[in-house]
Amino acid sequence: MPRPSRRPPGSPPHWPRHAIMIVVSFLMLIPFYWVVKTSLTGENIYAYPPRIVPVDPHLFNYVDVWYMIPFARYLLNSVIVTAMAIAGSLLFNVAAGYALTKHFPGRRWVVMLLLSCMLIPFQATIIPAYLITSWLGVLDTWLGVALPLLSTIICIFVFKASFEAVPPSLIDAARVDGLSEWRIVTRILLPLSKSAIATNVILTFIWSWNAFLWPLIAIRTPEMQTLPLGLARFLSVMEDTTGALYAFVVLVLIPGLAIFLMAQKEFIRGLTSGATKG
C-alpha cells in the first residue's frame, strides 16, 4: 500500500526512481502487448516490418480458435480438474491442518516429514508417479490429473497457523455445547480463516490451471487434454502460422490474470507464506 510520499529533507529526489521503474514496467509489459497485438491484427502476422499498432484489428482470430480446436472440451477438462483439485485440497488441507493443532504423540515427526516432503519437487518424481498412477488405474482421467494436487503441504501449514490463532476458549465453548469436531471446524474455525481459504483456493487454482508436465504424462487421449496441453498441441500442429495461436494464448492467460488482479493481496501473501515456509 502506498505510504505517504513526503520524502525526508536531504534524501534524493524521486524522479530518477520513477524513471527506472517506468522503464522496467515497460519492459515487463511488452510481451503482453505484443501477443495481444498479434492476436488482434488483421494483416499477415509475418509481414516485415511488424506494425506496432494492429492494422485493421478484429476479433475473428478468437472465433477461429473456438472452431479450429476443441476449445470447449479443453476448457471443460481444465475446469473440472481445477475444481477437483481445489475441492479436494481444501477438504484434506483443512483436515490435516486441524489435526496438526492437536497435541498427539508423533506430531513432531509428522511435521518434520511434511517439511522434508516439501523439499522434494514434484518434477523429480514423474517416473514413479506415472507408474503409481497407472497402477491405481486413474491414468488418463480427471482424477489422475488432479490427484497429486489434492493435498498441498504449504496450505496445511497456512491452515494450521490460522487455526492456532483462533482463541481456544471459543473452541472449548463450542465443545461444551456438544458440537462435533467436524462441526467445530466448519462452523467456528473456517469462518475465521477466510484468508487461509483464499490462499489455498488461489494457489491450487494457479498450480492446477497452469500444470503442464504432469498432464502431459498422465493424459493419453486427445479428449482428455487440458488447456496447456491443447496449447502445446495447437502449436505443434499449426507451427505458429496463424494469429489464432496468439488468440488462444490470450484466452488461456485471462483467467490467471483475472484471479491475480482480483485477489492480489491474498495471492502474494499465499506465495510468500509458502516461500518463507520452504
Binding site: 472465433v63 477461429d64 472452431y67 502460422t241 483475472a258 482480483m262
Partner: protein, 125 residues
C-alpha cells in the same frame, strides 16, 4: 448468505461471466440457421438475375468451392444451412463478368448473415 454477498467481486465477476455466456448462447440459438443472403449488382447498380454465386470454404490455408447459388429476378441469392464461420463469396455471370472475392467472417458457425451487394464487372482485357 445474504444478497450483499452477490456484490462481492468473487461472486459478481463469475456471475457476470455466466450471464454473458448464457445471453450469447441464447442469441446464437436464434440466429444459427446458416442463411447467407445478398444481392448481385452490376456497375450501374442494377440487380443481376441468373448470376452464379459461389461459396468457397476455408480449408486450413486455402479456400475450396463448397456450394453454388443462383440469383433470382431481383438479383438476390440465398444459401441455406451453411455450417461454416469463414469463407469467400464470388459472383459470376454467364457472359463472363465476375465480382471480387468477398471475404466473409462470421461470429459463430452458421450465423445468419446478410452480405453487402456483390458488384460484377466485365473482365479486364
Amino acid at each position: 448468505m445474504t444478497w450483499r454477498a452477490l456484490t462481492h467481486r468473487f461472486v459478481a465477476v463469475p456471475l457476470a461471466l455466466v450471464a454473458v455466456v448464457v445471453a450469447w448462447n441464447v442469441y446464437i440459438a436464434f440466429n444459427d440457421h446458416g442463411v447467407i443472403e445478398g444481392e448481385v449488382r452490376d456497375r450501374a447498380g442494377a440487380p443481376v438475375a441468373g448470376a452464379t454465386v459461389i461459396f468457397f470454404e476455408r480449408n486450413f490455408v486455402y479456400y475450396e468451392e463448397k456450394q453454388r447459388a443462383t440469383t433470382d429476378a431481383q438479383g438476390v441469392y440465398r444459401f441455406t444451412d451453411m455450417k461454416t464461420h469463414v469463407g469467400q463469396l464470388e459472383a459470376r455471370t454467364a457472359d463472363g463478368r465476375k465480382s471480387e472475392r468477398r471475404q466473409l467472417r462470421l461470429w459463430f458457425r452458421s450465423q445468419d448473415t446478410e452480405v453487402p451487394p456483390l458488384v460484377v464487372e466485365p473482365p479486364r482485357a
